[in-house]
């Protein structure tokens, strides 16, 4: 009954049996790749927003290796630094990080908080810049170094650029993989349709002889491909959902809040469903166009 509307026995074609499995695999790969690209984009975007218009001023602890820093960072120096930051153009606000914040920042690299406490820790000052206003980081660095030579102004620019470039490369590669998968889907459907037109030529002749237009025959291929795509999509989406749930569970266990937050946002899931939807539309349309082209070209 599912094929009641088709005159051509397209569901009996050998390719029709394996097509849903192949489509589900392609949809799975394309969706996962697309999702990776989206997650990276979302993470980078969120992180960029968090670090934009921000500076971190690091005042390293006094160490043996820096003879010239024999003088410790004094309260007087701290007051001068604060005054400089208040007077320097383009700074909206600033605050000194407390010890708990510093330990939390270092935890991913140095492990247990108790052990970090015993290490000589830098002082950190978080600076918020005024948005839309140019800021001279080098001048600030120079002026702060007059107060205390070891002060370092970190504007995140260098390592942000490196990470952004890497993220863009991953996104471009992901996009190319998705495009390749779409091309593979079109090629597969085109080949299936061509083969099927040859297999069922005798029925197509009958349809023509009783007055069927090429559009009517092409519609049969469109309808059949649409059903195949829906089956393949259904399987593919289930596989994607299982993968994401497992991944989300693992991420929660290892406490990667940014990733779990990115994965749980609705817009990412909605956009992820675009891939299967596009595959369904693409398959149906490719089948119709290929059938029409073949019917016209070879005067079936």
């Amino acid at each position: 009954m599912a094929h009641a509307s088709l005159d051509l026995p397209l569901w009996q074609d050998p390719a029709s049996r394996s097509a849903p499995w192949l489509i589900s695999l392609l949809i799975y790969v394309a969706t996962i790749v697309f999702l990776i690209a989206l997650t990276i984009h979302s993470l980078i975007d969120r992180w960029d927003r968090d670090t934009s218009h921000k500076l971190t001023i690091e005042i390293p602890p006094m160490t043996q290796s820096f003879d010239h820093l024999a003088a410790p960072f004094t309260e007087d120096m701290a007051a001068k630094v604060s005054q400089k930051l208040r007077d320097f153009p383009g700074i909206k606000s600033f605050r000194t990080a407390n010890q708990a914040e510093i330990i939390k920042t270092l935890e991913p690299w140095f492990g247990d908080a108790e052990q970090i406490k015993d290490l000589p820790l830098s002082k950190l000052i978080y600076v918020q810049l005024e948005p839309g206003r140019s800021f001279d980081v080098i001048q600030l660095q120079k002026q702060l170094n007059h107060i205390y030579p070891a002060i370092n102004v970190e504007d995140h620019f260098n390592w942000k650029t490196g990470i952004f470039n890497m993220a863009y490369a991953v996104q471009i590669i992901s996009f190319l993989i998705v495009v390749l998968i779409f091309v593979a889907v079109i090629a597969m459907i085109s080949y299936m349709t061509r083969t099927s037109l040859i297999i069922h030529r005798h029925i197509i002749d009958i349809l023509h002889l009783i007055g069927a237009k090429n559009q009517y025959i092409a519609w049969q291929y469109q309808s059949h491909s649409f059903k195949l795509a829906l089956r393949g999509t259904f399987l593919g989406v289930i596989l994607v959902a299982i993968t994401l749930l497992v991944f989300d569970n693992i991420m929660n266990q290892f406490d990667f809040p940014l990733i779990t937050k990115a994965l749980s946002s609705w817009d990412i899931w909605a956009i992820t469903l675009i891939i299967p939807a596009l595959v369904v539309v693409l398959m149906a349309y490719s089948a119709k166009v290929t059938a029409l082209k073949m019917l016209r070209r070879y005067n079936f």
Binding site: D7, P9, Q12, H202, I203, D205, I206, L207, H208, L209, I210, G211, A212, K213, N214, Q215, Y216, L295, R296, N299
Partner: protein, 238 residues
């Protein structure tokens, strides 16, 4: 001047007009050589000739599946060389064909096969099922509506093919050796069936090599001989 123009214009009373039509399939001796043929609306004709004479090929040209190499073929007043594939498809909807090998679709039931010409025309499912059922009853196969062609005998398949050919109430019905696989009694009944359609206004062309059968009916015979068609008139009414 007027007479010349009138001679070139299609005659709408002529359903089919063939003028100086040549078809050779690349052979040095053409199958049809500058053949002229006219089939008038409302006529009933037997197309006669020995096996291999070209009866099936002539029918193929009549149902627009074969273009001539040279000459003019007009169907329903239209030159088929001027028609697109879709326009030819539309024209074929006025033609019913009973093929020698029936050409039923094996994966469709008798009912689906009969209703198929209405389906391609976009007729609603309920209406086409009702009409197909009526025709299956007419050809005595009402109880076989759900059978697939491979489950039916040759005679039953032929009747399904006839029902499919007439479901669109064709203006022109072509039958290629419809009596070839049945005994004389069934053959006579088939021709009576076609007579009923003829009386309702359809133009009928039946290709057969059975002289006894054509002799039993008062209809004209078209005889293919030496690449041409000769019409043997039996009755002035036709």
């Amino acid at each position: 001047m007027m007479n010349k123009k009138a001679a070139l214009a299609p005659n709408l009373n002529n359903l089919i007009e063939m003028e100086k039509l040549t078809l050779s399939f690349g052979q040095s001796h053409p199958l049809f050589d500058e053949m002229n043929l006219t089939i008038k609306e409302g006529s009933f004709q037997f197309l006669m000739g020995p096996s291999g004479a070209g009866k099936s090929t002539l029918l193929k040209m009549l149902y627009l599946d074969q273009l001539p190499d040279k000459g003019t073929l007009r169907a329903f007043g239209l030159n088929i060389r001027d028609l697109s594939m879709d326009q030819r498809a539309l024209l074929r909807r006025k033609i019913g064909v009973v093929f020698q090998d029936f050409r039923l679709i094996d994966n469709l039931t008798a009912l689906e096969n009969v209703s198929l010409p209405l389906k391609v025309q976009g007729v609603h499912n309920k209406q086409r099922q009702e009409e197909a059922m009526e025709l299956l009853e007419w050809v005595g196969l009402k109880d076989k509506f759900n059978a697939y062609p491979p489950e039916m005998s040759g005679g039953q398949q032929q009747r399904v093919a006839i029902a499919r050919a007439v479901i669109v109430r064709p203006k022109l019905l072509l039958a290629d050796e419809p009596t070839g696989n049945v005994d004389d009694d069934v053959a006579m009944r088939l021709i009576y069936l076609f007579e009923q359609l003829h009386k309702s206004g359809a133009t009928i062309v039946v290709a057969t090599h059975n002289h006894a059968l054509s002799a039993a009916f008062p209809y004209d015979e078209m005889m293919i001989q030496d690449g041409k068609v000769k019409v043997l008139k039996k009755s002035e009414e036709n």
